[in-house]
């Protein structure tokens, strides 16, 4: 078997090897399956490893051997977050509620990946229904950070980030409602993209907060993130909020290798208790841009300090509505009781974990009569102001640079009993979802905690449908680490 250095292997590199016949898809899949076998017991990144991956790899090898033009992701082994449907496979969303739920159709993104020839290794662990920033809220046990197993990998797409970071997959899909791709990518030293709201179809993604949810790739390099984004993006009839950027009233902004970029530093993101050494990493990225002749200037997003408060009204409100569908009648867990109402109540009590119950109750509170205007109504209006801040800032700059998280990965158990401190983890991430703009998290340095080196991510933020700017700027930072 060909010797390969898995840590160096990228989707792009694997594609070339597969296309040239340097390695077969079967060899590649079995290498990853061996890695999973030796590491997953400790890290708990996968909830299930699919037994048909090898057979799919054989099919890919047949295609390549028969001289057919290999597809974009032919034979590339990937992990899929457990809230994205793959027909015939269990999709539990990290919850007891859906422990035995077998998907009856493919998510749009899964269909796209299948058409591109990707091979699914398994489903990745996550916070229950994507509610959390540490993957500790999974009903199937926490995922561990490969840099320090006593620490969290971030969340909610913790399993997807760890699978890539520890060479248990070449790439993965996650979902990001308030940082759930970018924060675990930052904590695990990999690249994560939260696309523009509407860039990728949400059809077949188990909904958390529908006005914010977006599927995106987690990879080792910016090139790989771009490759996968280009496969999964686009208008889909089954998600009416998905958009074909070519048909937008305002043309999407263009990047450009030769162009000098105007880079904004949002001052509100540099005041809120960021660790000194984390800040140094972010400042080093800013200096890199400056040193290469790009223009750097301070910008202001004056309402972003209110973003987290807006988020924790809008998200629970949407959660309480979206999760009303889990009643034990049509699918999922079912508890027998004396009448219909008791069946609803007992099914939901047994199926939902603590954080899910907490958000459903909070959502019910903020939407209840007498409170609606004060909470949801007001939050929606402040959300408009947050979006306007971004519009104004992007009138002055091409992209913005910010931290991903104020601190590196925290200890398992450190924040589970204090929901507010867990929510504050996402302070630099939720304004992006509320405004709907795309952002990329990429590793740019490490800091030391208790003798362990922990990765630190940089967040690049672009205007609506400006993913190409993120990829260009991301490649600049990758080349000057």
């Amino acid at each position: 078997m060909t010797r390969i250095n898995l840590s160096e292997l990228t989707v792009k590199g694997a594609r070339e090897m597969l296309h040239k016949g340097d390695i077969s898809a079967r060899e590649l899949v079995s290498i990853y399956q061996e890695e999973i076998k030796s590491k997953n017991k400790t890290l708990n990144a996968y909830l299930e490893v699919f037994d048909d991956a090898f057979q799919k790899a054989e099919e890919a090898d047949e295609r390549i051997k028969s001289g057919q033009e290999p597809r974009v992701l032919e034979g590339v082994p990937v992990a899929i977050k457990d809230n994205i449907l793959i027909k015939g496979k269990i999709c539990s969303a990290g919850s007891r509620m859906l422990e035995n739920y077998a998907s009856s159709y493919d998510a749009h993104v899964v269909q796209k990946l299948k058409e591109a020839g990707a091979i699914f290794l398994g489903r990745a662990n996550m916070d229950e229904f994507a509610m959390g920033s540490s993957t500790e809220n999974s009903a199937y046990g926490a995922t561990k950070n490969p840099y320090d197993e006593s620490r969290v990998p971030g969340g909610s797409s913790g399993g997807s980030a760890v699978a890539v970071a520890s060479n248990m997959a070449l790439a993965s899909l996650g979902s990001d409602t308030g940082g759930s791709i970018r924060q675990p990518a930052g904590f695990c030293g990999v690249v994560g993209l939260k696309p523009t709201y509407g860039a990728v179809s949400r059809s077949g993604l188990i909904a958390m907060a529908s006005s914010l949810d977006q599927i995106g790739p987690i990879t080792k390099t910016v090139d790989d993130a771009e490759l996968i984004f280009n496969v999964i993006k686009g208008k889909d009839a089954k998600d009416s909020t998905s958009v074909d950027p070519a048909h937008l009233a305002v043309a999407p902004p263009s990047g450009g290798r030769a162009a000098k970029l105007k880079i904004g530093v949002p001052k509100e993101f540099f005041t809120e208790g960021v660790d000194k050494d984390v800040l140094e990493v972010v400042n080093r990225a800013i200096e890199t841009f400056k040193g290469l002749g790009h223009e750097v200037k301070e910008v202001s997003l004056p309402h972003s300090p209110y973003a987290l408060a807006v988020y924790y009204i809008i998200v629970p409100a949407e959660v309480s509505a979206n999760l009303a569908r889990f009643e034990g009648i049509r699918y999922g867990l079912h508890k027998h009781a004396k009448n219909l109402l008791s069946e609803y109540v007992e099914t939901r009590a047994a199926g939902f974990g603590k954080e899910v119950r907490r958000r459903i109750i909070l959502g019910t509170h903020v939407l209840s009569s007498g409170y609606y205007d004060a909470y949801y109504g007001r939050a929606s209006k402040v959300r408009v102001l947050i979006k306007k801040d971004f519009e104004k800032a992007f009138g002055e700059v091409d992209l913005m640079v910010a931290p991903v998280s104020p601190k590196p990965a925290f200890k398992i158990g450190e924040k589970v009993d204090d929901p507010l401190s867990m929510y504050l983890e996402d302070i630099f991430l939720v304004p992006i979802n509320l405004a709907g703009v795309p952002a990329l998290s990429l590793p740019y340095g490490q800091v030391q905690r208790e003798g362990k080196n922990l990765p630190v991510g940089i967040q690049l933020i672009a205007p609506w449908f400006g993913e190409n700017i993120l990829f260009e700027a991301g490649r600049i930072l990758e080349a000057h680490r």
Binding site: Y101, A102, S104, Y197, G198, S211, A237, S240, T241, L248, A249, H303, Y306, A309, Y312, I313, S320, A324, G328, I329, R330, Y331, H334, A337, K338, N339, L340, L341, E343, Y344, V345, E346, R348, A349, F352, K354, R357, R358, I360, I361, L362, G363, T364, H365, V366, S368, G377, R378, A379, S380, K381, V382, R383, V384, L385, K387, P419, L420, Y423, G436
Partner: protein, 95 residues
Amino acid sequence: MISSDDVKKMAKLARVELDAKEERDLARDLESVVGYIDKLKEVNISGIEDASHVFHVNDFREDLPPKEIFDFAPLLDLAPEKERGFIKVKKILDK
């Protein structure tokens, strides 16, 4: 101030059963979260129109005939209880 009784009432509305300890814990958690989100009162929102639909260019669509006909058999298979091609539910009212 959010009390255990408020939580009990909301849990009933949300069709979730909680035990007494969780009602107390949740009252405390919600108190801290609601205290935090109350900072939105500082923001001047005068002149911002109702905003629940400003974010998407295409939330609304025309009612067109469905393009795809779904096979309901695999959906019915998922139901915990069924009879003669229907999903079976308990009676709604007790006698």
